[in-house]
Symmetry: D2
Subunit: 140 residues, 4 copies
């Protein structure tokens, strides 16, 4: 089970090398994560309103080919692991060519703590949002 | 009365034109504003902790010459107008050449509402922070 | 004649005030500009490959209401003025509510020089790209 | 052998969680890298002008504690490995408290190809910039 997020490379995302600056990929992963969470019938905004945050604890990105201004991009996202107060996502980033073929540009992972927005202390997603927890668990 | 803020252009701030992307200038103005406020003996963080926000309502930027990666930049900041629930700042952005001479790259202004962080409604800086209000007023 | 560009607010675009940081609006205008140019049958990438750049010389933004994470945004873009080596665009930014109604968040303008990518000197769009020039002219 | 880079957290770097968005850390690493290269008597701008680029092929970031607006940050940078057409850097990010004590916020690594700016093909730094190559080698 995974989601696909589509968007076009912005001019501001390029750097003087003429390619997308690597610091934009974590932002793109986040677009993927937003859509992935939403596919379970709850938005990440609503999770935060319920007092739960998913701060990033680890990030890794691998870059094979560069993306350029106006490239059509698709990010594929899925959860790799879910524990009580910890969740891990994986992403692949592809470019969609004008002929519809796709080229993989790279991939990455993010690991997140699951914490209370007031105390910044770990909380159990299983206890606080059992329905979401079970839905994600069911994807493994 | 004004402050000067110094920093070096970051690689990520450039775009495929080889120059600093214009969306970074409001961020640079904000560096200037942070230092300007701090010069009155209070940090903008402390203003926010006291429940007051300065959201931007108008922004204008004029660009004469481009900035490039590793350029040494100085932003000069001062307040142009202060009313009960409204404040306006002006900025000039200059590049410092290796020989110490300076070149103006452009200038800009920001206008801000002064609002309560809970209600997002206008508040009187004069009433809520009379000391800061008087200090800024004294610069005109 | 105008174009409409649709996208969702990214988490990374928010700031500690809980709203979209104002420096993202010029980036959003650029998304609008990209789509507007493309509506004339040429991409802005192709204009740059033809050796012409449109660097921003003036930017103004007016902010009425804040945008927040996951808001659906529409940017409406049109050209306001076109001279030999100068072009001006206008943008309105609206939020699309879940019920389909729209709320204006603000508006802005950008002015651009039209320059040669090698010399960074003004060039005549009318001479270098007469077809695009006439198409934009025809919208006034 | 390592360098230290100092700067203050910008407002625009924060997100609605109230902390620095994780996508800024690769930008901070790049500040560190810029200073590290400069410590060998050549700027990264000059390397690029000589036709050599260091695009990022892998990025990893570990986050222990969050950074906040106006925090004073120090990034420590050093090279971990240098091969003919490949270089790896490591970074630690610390916060400097008002009392001068430091707290580690996290660390990261970047791996870079060494390529020709025209062909985007690997080049040997040892051959193209033997002096810089030997200076970096001498730090291991």
């Amino acid at each position: 089970m995974h989601t696909r997020s589509y968007f076009t490379v912005r001019y501001a995302e390029t750097d003087r090398m003429g390619i997308v600056h690597h610091s934009n990929y974590p932002v793109w992963y986040e677009i993927g994560r937003t859509d992935y969470i939403k596919s379970f019938g709850i938005s990440y905004s609503e999770i935060e309103e319920a007092g739960i945050l998913f701060p990033v604890t680890n990030l890794s990105c691998h870059f094979d080919r560069p993306a350029r201004y106006e490239d059509e991009i698709v990010v594929r996202t899925w959860a790799l692991e879910l524990k009580a107060a910890h969740i891990q996502f994986t992403y692949t980033v592809k470019k969609i060519n004008p002929d519809g073929s796709q080229e993989e540009l790279g991939y990455g992972t993010t690991e997140h703590g699951i914490i209370d927005s007031k105390t910044f202390r770990p909380v159990s997603l299983k206890k606080r949002m059992p329905e979401l927890y079970e839905k994600i668990k069911a994807t493994f």
